[in-house]
């Protein structure tokens, strides 16, 4: 299975490389460093959110509240910047992350402790988190002129040739790779999603893994909330509206199985990169931006159909459990090792 997964990511990478080369041949502006840097900066939030969402989907869950969480924690960070401009920047960012973590822990608690289906919980908290912004601000927004200068300058800083959001995304990606591949807890996400019953018999707590997954997702959303608000210079209740579905789409294109237990860091990053390239390529190709959504939809459908073809059809087997058991025992062996 692992060679198959590897080749799938390789295929996606090759498609992306060919697409970039073709668009670059059409108009060399696209492959200029400035454009690539802009594209990566623009997509950095999606990279991180998609990785965090992948961890949630690995446990057979889904988090629809990421965009609302991003908006609320970004808003709180902006409020701190507005009312306490003397607070050091690192504390403002930490506030965003802490708020995001707290919101994620609320999701995780409801899901892991009470056993409510994730889609129900996050559908509810999605509305609550977004509405909280209105309640906090009384319908006001925080504008660029009200945020601190440093607060807004940080995501535009360039360090060793790359903007800070790109560096953060690289750092977060490496952390995710190390965590998911080299730690016992990280492998636990795969085990719980691959086969919850087997994972339980191996002493892996499903509830704890779920709680952890939503908390991580929340903290990452908080970080992205700060980056989003600071980069675009405005914080109000509608920012990133509907972005949760883009994040899930990036995971799906990257080969993360919605059934849980399947997904890699590299694949998810490539899925997010794909959406980022589509968004920046359209203006270069002089195609109306209105095409963006239709293309993304077609790509998602193509990706799920191809991924399904690559896997065997489960209902042709008499005992689908046997296959899933096999998969998760392998995951378990890796977790033990």
């Amino acid at each position: 299975v692992s060679t198959l997964l590897k080749s799938r990511e390789l295929i996606l990478a090759v498609i992306l490389a060919v697409a970039v080369a073709a668009i670059g041949a059409y108009d060399s502006v696209f492959v200029q460093w400035q454009n690539i840097s802009d594209m990566l900066t623009e997509t950095s939030v999606l990279f991180m959110l998609a990785l965090a969402q992948m961890v949630v989907i690995l446990t057979r869950g889904i988090d629809l509240s990421v965009a609302a969480n991003l908006a609320l924690s970004g808003f709180v960070a902006a409020l701190v910047s507005q009312y306490y401009p003397d607070v050091p920047l690192i504390l403002m960012i930490a506030t965003g992350v802490a708020v995001g973590l707290l919101l994620g822990m609320i999701n995780g608690g409801l899901i892991a402790v009470l056993g409510i289906p994730p889609i129900v919980v996050t559908l509810g908290t999605l509305a609550v988190y977004r509405g909280m912004i209105i309640i906090l601000a009384g319908g006001d927004q925080v504008n660029a002129s009200e945020m601190g200068v440093e607060f807004q300058a940080f995501p535009k800083d360039i360090f060793l040739g790359l903007t800070t959001p790109i560096w953060i995304a690289i750092g977060v990606s490496i952390l995710f790779w190390l965590f998911l591949n080299l730690t016992r807890t990280g492998r636990g996400f795969y085990a719980v999603g691959g086969n919850p019953v087997a994972a339980r018999y191996c002493g892996i707590s499903q509830g704890w893994q779920e709680f952890l997954a939503y908390s991580i997702d929340g903290a990452v959303s908080g970080l992205c909330g700060y980056l989003w608000v600071a980069r675009y210079g405005v914080a109000y209740s509608e920012i990133a509206s509907g972005y949760e579905l883009t994040v899930i789409a990036a995971c799906v294109i990257g080969g993360v199985s919605i059934g849980g237990g399947v997904g890699t860091v590299a694949g998810t990053l490539l899925g997010a990169l794909f959406l980022g390239i589509v968004n920046t390529a359209l203006p270069v190709l002089q195609i109306s931006p209105f095409w963006q959504m239709a293309i993304a939809g077609a790509v998602i459908l193509a990706a799920v159909v191809i991924n399904a073809r690559a896997e065997r059809r489960p209902d042709k087997l008499i005992l689908p459990e046997a296959r899933r058991l096999g998969r998760s025992t392998r995951a378990m062996r890796r977790a033990r090792a």
């Binding site: 559908l123 509305a127 209105i134 919850p196 109306s288 963006q292 998602i300 459908l301 799920v304 399904a308």
Partner: protein, 352 residues
């Protein structure tokens, strides 16, 4: 949803349990009873807070604000019952509304405009159904994709323009009361004004309820939702029924698109945006289990009324829409978690 079976609590697989005896406490804990209590509470609180809440004209107008969503919720309820979901409904509304707009430009009659909406919905639903059942894909992923695709097509064709030319008889269907207010000689006995969309919702809810709860097809849907594999082995055409449910969900969305266009009198590519999550909220609050196999049309009907009246009551008290969403979100989580908390406590007491 996927909680592992705790060891030791597993029933012997060959025992068939008797139905538990009827008890008053179980009946009171039924979901529909909770919803009725919520509904009464909503009405009483609103009537106390605002004197204009119980005005029949106000209530009639309130119904038209949620009837289109409620019509789609009926189709969604059946899909969730069989463990599927359709997140593309709002995008289908947009695509149907756009087709209606162009057909109206071409001078088609109001009845034909409704047919156009329904046919577009049917085609979109069939597309969803084919992709989900032929390729055996999770419907949540497929319909996220088609949501993007359908709304994307609307955006590509329409760009940033709006369609506003509709024949007056078509607009009348959406904006006037279908059944006008008729008073009788007895002062408290009257026929309330009913908008067309609410009337259609009532009729459809009745039909859906009868089909789901009294016919063989309805039992088959419950069987699929409880255990799709066992349902298939008992000779139920699982994939064909699921396909038909996606078509049905598309038809409902197309019909809702026609009603919405007639009510608003204009459409842009962002029409009905974000509705899919509101509709899923209605269905889940109605007691349909996201894990499949549990739910009733009566529950969905009551949840639609509760949510509609909560929103209406708050809007006449000048509470902004997103704050209302906070209450709706809290209501959803509270209503789902309170029975579970009780269950946990009871289990803990029993364990001692």
């Amino acid at each position: 949803m996927n909680a592992p079976m705790p060891p030791g609590e597993q029933q012997d697989r060959y025992t068939v349990l008797d139905a538990p005896p009827w008890r008053l406490r179980d009946a009171l804990l039924r979901w529909e009873v909770i919803l009725v209590i919520l509904l009464v509470l909503t009405i009483v609180v609103n009537a106390l807070v605002s004197p204009v809440f119980l005005d029949v004209y106000n209530l009639a107008d309130a119904t038209s604000n949620f009837s289109e969503m409620a019509i789609i919720a009926l189709g969604m309820a059946l899909l969730i019952l069989v463990r599927d979901i359709d997140l593309s409904v709002a995008a289908i509304v947009a695509l149907a509304a756009m087709s209606i707009g162009y057909a109206a430009d071409a001078g088609w009659s109001p009845a034909m405009l409704f047919v156009v909406g329904i046919v577009v919905g049917l085609l979109c639903g069939a597309f969803n159904g084919i992709v989900v059942t032929w390729f055996n894909l999770p419907s949540i992923v497929v319909t996220i994709g088609t949501m993007s695709l359908f709304r994307g097509i609307t955006q590509v064709i329409l760009g940033d323009q709006a369609l506003t030319k509709y024949p007056q008889p078509f607009l009348d269907l959406g904006q006037n009361y279908f059944i006008p207010m008729t008073e009788t000689s007895v002062p408290w006995l009257f026929v309330p004004p009913v908008p067309l969309s609410f009337l259609i919702f009532l009729v459809l809810a009745l039909i859906f309820g009868i089909v789901l709860h009294t016919t063989a097809v309805g039992r088959k849907l419950f069987a699929i939702g409880s255990n799709p594999v066992a349902a298939r082995f008992s000779g139920i055409p699982v994939d064909r029924l699921r396909f038909l449910l996606f078509v049905l969900s598309g038809i409902m969305s197309g019909l809702a698109g026609a009603l919405l266009t007639a009510r608003l009198g204009s459409m842009r590519s962002n029409i009905a945006i974000g509705w899919e999550l509101d509709i899923v909220t209605m269905v889940i609050l109605g007691g349909v289990s996201i894990a499949g196999g549990v739910g009733s049309i009566l529950g969905v009907f009551l949840a639609v009324l509760v949510l509609g009246l909560v929103r209406f009551g708050m809007s006449i008290n000048n509470i902004p829409g997103q704050v209302v969403s906070v209450y709706v979100g809290l209501l959803l989580i509270a209503v789902i978690s309170i029975p579970r908390i009780f269950e946990k406590l009871r289990a803990r007491r029993a364990g001692r």
